[in-house]
């Protein structure tokens, strides 16, 4: 986790110092977010149009990223794919972290049988390998965007819960918690006003890590043909449908893979290069 710190210069901004790697990573993430929002307005061709006579065409003027297995413009398809990959993953990670963190804080504050039952149950959930869980759910209820979002969220709730609970248990032993309890504050106040502000920074870092896991799992499922169904295509699905171009190293296979890598590596690097104060897990 210390890789970039020694080599890069640090600059000061808003009282924190940021490393160059962290800034570049943040810019890449910002760029993909903008693409995800603006995709329908900036794509040069409609994603269904066949614009090339040849399939798996090379990069050239007008078709900057070549063409796919049907001769469609790859640049447009990758830009639109950002929408699905980033959108679905963000929705899922919001649900997962919100539920996990709220449950974790409640468990830590309440304690007793609720804590025990919740922890046991979510630990059991955690013992199901994530790809397998996705496979079984898709087999059972079929694949659609809401199902995908919920499945991805459910898979990562236990992790978010465990992380938040461990942090909240530490805060729970502080004197100000005892004072608040003696004042007669209710659970909602305790978790919202006393615990959350003290754990929010590491929780946000955890949010980023979980986002990466979800992007990877979503891409993996789509690659297996169990994620987004045609005609929709996220980056994983783009790799899948163009896998036939692999033997001649077509850009259609390489580019969506690189898109996934640029997003996930950037998020990981950004978190690694956050100022110590924000990243510190001991809050």
């Amino acid at each position: 986790m210390t890789m970039a710190r020694a080599t890069t210069s640090r600059r000061s901004f808003l009282g924190h110092s940021y490393s160059l790697v962290g800034v570049v990573a943040a810019l890449v993430i910002l760029a993909w977010t903008l693409v995800a929002i603006l995709a329908p307005y900036i794509i040069p061709h409609s994603i269904g149009d066949i614009v090339d006579d040849d399939y798996f065409g090379p990069m050239r003027q007008g078709l900057w990223l070549g063409s796919d297995y049907l001769g469609r413009d790859m640049l447009s398809r990758v830009l639109m794919g950002a929408r699905y990959t980033v959108g679905i993953s963000l929705a899922a990670v919001f649900i997962a972290c919100f539920s996990g963190v709220v449950l974790g804080m409640i468990a830590a504050v309440t304690g007793g049988w609720l804590d025990t039952c919740l922890s046991r149950f979510l630990d059991a959930m955690n013992s199901i390998p994530s790809k397998l869980f996705g496979l079984v759910v898709v087999a059972a209820v079929g694949s659609s965007i809401p199902v995908l979002i919920l499945t991805l969220a459910v898979i990562y709730i236990p992790g978010a819960y465990r992380f938040a609970r461990a942090l909240a248990v530490n805060i729970n032993t502080m004197d100000f918690m005892t004072v608040a309890r003696v004042r007669g504050e209710n659970t909602i106040y305790l978790i919202g006003s006393e615990i959350l502000p003290n754990i929010i920074r590491p929780v946000l870092a955890d949010f980023g890590l979980r986002f990466v896991f979800i992007v990877l799992l979503l891409s993996g499922l789509s690659f297996l043909g169990l994620g987004l169904q045609p005609p929709l295509a996220d980056w994983g699905a783009l790799v899948r449908e163009n896998i036939g171009g692999l033997p001649f190293a077509a850009p259609a296979v390489v580019v969506p893979s690189l898109a996934i890598a640029s997003l996930t590596i950037s998020v990981n690097l950004l978190i690694d290069n956050l100022p110590q104060k924000i990243r510190d897990r001991d809050a």
């Binding site: 890789m3 013992s127 790809k131 079984v136 087999a139 059972a140 692999l246 890598a261 590596i265």
Partner: protein, 316 residues
């Protein structure tokens, strides 16, 4: 004090058993949620209502779900995994050979990746901050941050397309010579080794670095022990518990990895069988495959926890 460890280990095993039951329950219900009536799917559109009703009776489909779950469990305990919907073969017969193939893949990967990852992880920790350490770290972060299928496609590009050393697909079932064998296993094993090792290198490096910052290692340094003696003699024996824990945890990534790798390389293992079963919605087959994967995964993470408990000297 010894009984304390034993108690913790027994407790962990009990938790694993309860977890296993919950997982079996979840797998059963997720798969029985499938829309559509199994009996009419099996018999096709031309079936008479009487035939459908008869089959429903024979398959216990009219019984409440909880009873069917118990029947399924009893069947499992007798080694009866049910019959595949797709081709009416016993699931056990379909799985048998495939499971052996997957185990072979996992075993070869483990034998390669464990020594590789431990060497890289420990040396990187010893030379912390050096160019070597940074290269290893950047590389492992890179591999962890990308999906398994990307590692696989890059491996194909490098070894099959540019270097032309290996075939892109390992679809052959018959291996006649040692070279055939190597060519079949090479690509899946290379991909899996990358994925597993990256994880293991990071955890091993972290474990050794943590031990290196303890007071007794500082003591060894102050009394003039050489750097390698400090690591090998003082730090490593104490980091052994966390390292073995890291190895077991990383190996649990094999479960997700083989699903992708077997699909890409068309490797005739149990994961490929399961992905195909999902496509044909062959419930008994999905249930059994899912169960085997969960068992393997649960075994590895339980082993990791137990090793962590046993290696903690404060509990001994």
């Amino acid at each position: 004090m010894k009984s304390g460890v034993l108690k913790l280990v027994m407790k962990r095993l009990a938790v694993a058993l309860v977890t296993l039951l919950i997982v079996l329950f979840a797998v059963f219900f997720a798969t029985s949620m499938l829309p559509g009536d199994t009996a009419s799917i099996l018999l096709g559109q031309a079936a008479t209502p009487e035939a459908v009703a008869g089959l429903r009776e024979a398959m216990h489909l009219n019984d409440p779900a909880i009873l069917r779950f118990l029947l399924w469990l009893v069947g499992l305990l007798h080694g009866d995994l049910g019959t595949s919907y797709a081709n009416q073969m016993p699931v056990a017969a379909l799985i048998g050979g495939r499971l052996v193939n997957t185990m072979k893949l996992a075993a070869i990967t483990t034998m390669l990746s464990v020594p590789l990852a431990l060497t890289l992880g420990i040396t990187a920790a010893m030379l912390r901050g050096s160019v070597y350490d940074r290269t290893v770290t950047v590389f492992s972060i890179g591999v962890i941050s990308v999906p398994e299928f990307m590692v696989a496609t890059l491996a194909v590009l490098l070894f099959a397309v540019y270097l032309k050393w290996l075939p892109a697909l390992s679809s052959v079932n018959e291996a006649h010579s040692v070279t055939d064998l190597v060519r079949i296993y090479a690509m899946p094993v290379i991909t899996l080794t990358f994925v597993i090792s990256a994880q293991m290198i990071r955890m091993t490096r972290a474990a050794v670095i943590e031990t290196l910052s303890t007071p007794y290692v500082e003591m060894a340094l102050l009394k003039g022990a050489s750097r390698s003696r400090m690591v090998l003699r003082h730090a490593l024996p104490n980091a052994l518990g966390p390292i073995v824990n890291a190895v077991a945890l990383s190996l649990s990534y094999l479960v997700g990895g083989v699903i992708i790798v077997e699909t890409i390389f068309n490797y005739p293992g149990i994961a490929k069988l399961m992905v195909d079963a999902v496509a044909t919605r062959d419930l008994p087959l999905i249930q059994s495959c899912a169960m085997i994967f969960c068992l393997g995964y649960l075994f590895l993470i339980t082993a990791a926890d137990i090793i962590a408990i046993m290696s903690n000297p404060r509990l001994r």
